[in-house]
Symmetry: C2
Subunit: 198 residues, 2 copies
């Protein structure tokens, strides 16, 4: 508390951001106060502009500023495989691997009764619509390996069954660079179950 | 890179904030996109409002939204002692100790030729003006224990000499809760030099 209302209010607003504690909020507040007028204006404009222009891709619900997202616009992608993820950030994580050539479907969350997020809050209708396209061969469930992500994957797999499309789930196992000593039991058990011949 | 210009621009702006790396910037960007319209508006208003209303205290140059800062407005403070600090955050650090009852003087930086910050960029003229007041008995140099903070303290002490006011410097030594094993040599040497009878 600096007992200067506009400053305390700014710090309070910054503390609401994810991953920002009180000390970081103070540091950010002083930076935003001391930075030049142009920098502050650019920062505010970037927030406003992004909020105004960004919407969901008409095909996969990924975030974009055009009717279709960059992946769906790319004609060289394999339209037979759809990778279902929870958030737009997950699309970016897969793109960084440069491994996956198919399309995505962004659910914008996972089913979580504890947080009041039911299936109706997710982009499931759009996924079923895409699954009905006969060109789609495989749908990969790439929701997070959490209770909510698992529940969502199972729920979707059940819904997709009548479409006769192959539904797969990401492999479980040890993360690369991980340490067996510190691995939790569920991860270890699953990496044993899923062992492969060398 | 999300290849969605308004989103990439927002992330780039967030990355310029102190202590915010690329991953945090992405997380903050998605939060700012997904939060409600009122929350986003409140956030932007808090930045604008703080920038418009916050100015420097007419006495000590601390940040305030009124002519005088909360410390200088408080009539129960001891006006005979002035604690000179680099930034407004340092005032708040001292106030948390509930130990110091005097007034402050905020320099808004430290002399740093490497960064092109000369004495003319600091609130030194205002400090000399205050030192001329015969009620002032002591001026404590509480700049940071860094090369720049030391240089600033020495420079000010020299300037203040003709005023015949007592000039003191914060004590050096081991930080509370610190570990001797990990203390640097300068700190250890100074804590030896400054040892007190028990």
């Amino acid at each position: 508390m600096y007992h200067v209302p506009p400053l305390d209010r700014l710090i309070e607003q910054l503390e609401r951001l994810p991953g920002i504690g009180h000390k970081s909020a103070c540091r950010l507040a002083f930076h935003l106060l001391n930075t030049g007028e142009k920098n502050a204006g650019d920062f505010i404009d970037a927030i406003r502009d992004a909020r105004e222009r960004i919407r969901e891709c008409e095909i996969c619900c990924n975030l974009t500023d055009q009717p279709l997202c960059p992946v769906c616009r790319n004609e060289s992608r394999d339209t037979a495989v759809i990778c279902v993820v929870e958030d737009a950030q997950d699309v970016s994580a897969f793109e960084r691997t440069r491994e996956f050539q198919g399309l995505y479907h962004v659910l914008h969350g996972a089913i979580s009764p504890m947080d009041g997020i039911g299936p109706d809050r997710l982009r499931i209708k759009q996924l079923l619509h895409r699954a009905a396209d006969e060109r789609v061969r495989e749908i990969i469930m790439a929701t997070n390996p959490t209770v909510e992500g698992e529940a969502t994957a199972m729920y979707l797999a059940k819904l997709l069954k009548p479409f006769g499309v192959l539904t797969t789930r990401l492999a479980y196992g040890m993360p690369a660079g991980g340490d067996l000593e510190y691995a939790d039991e569920v991860t270890l058990r699953r990496s044993l179950e899923g062992r492969n011949e060398m």
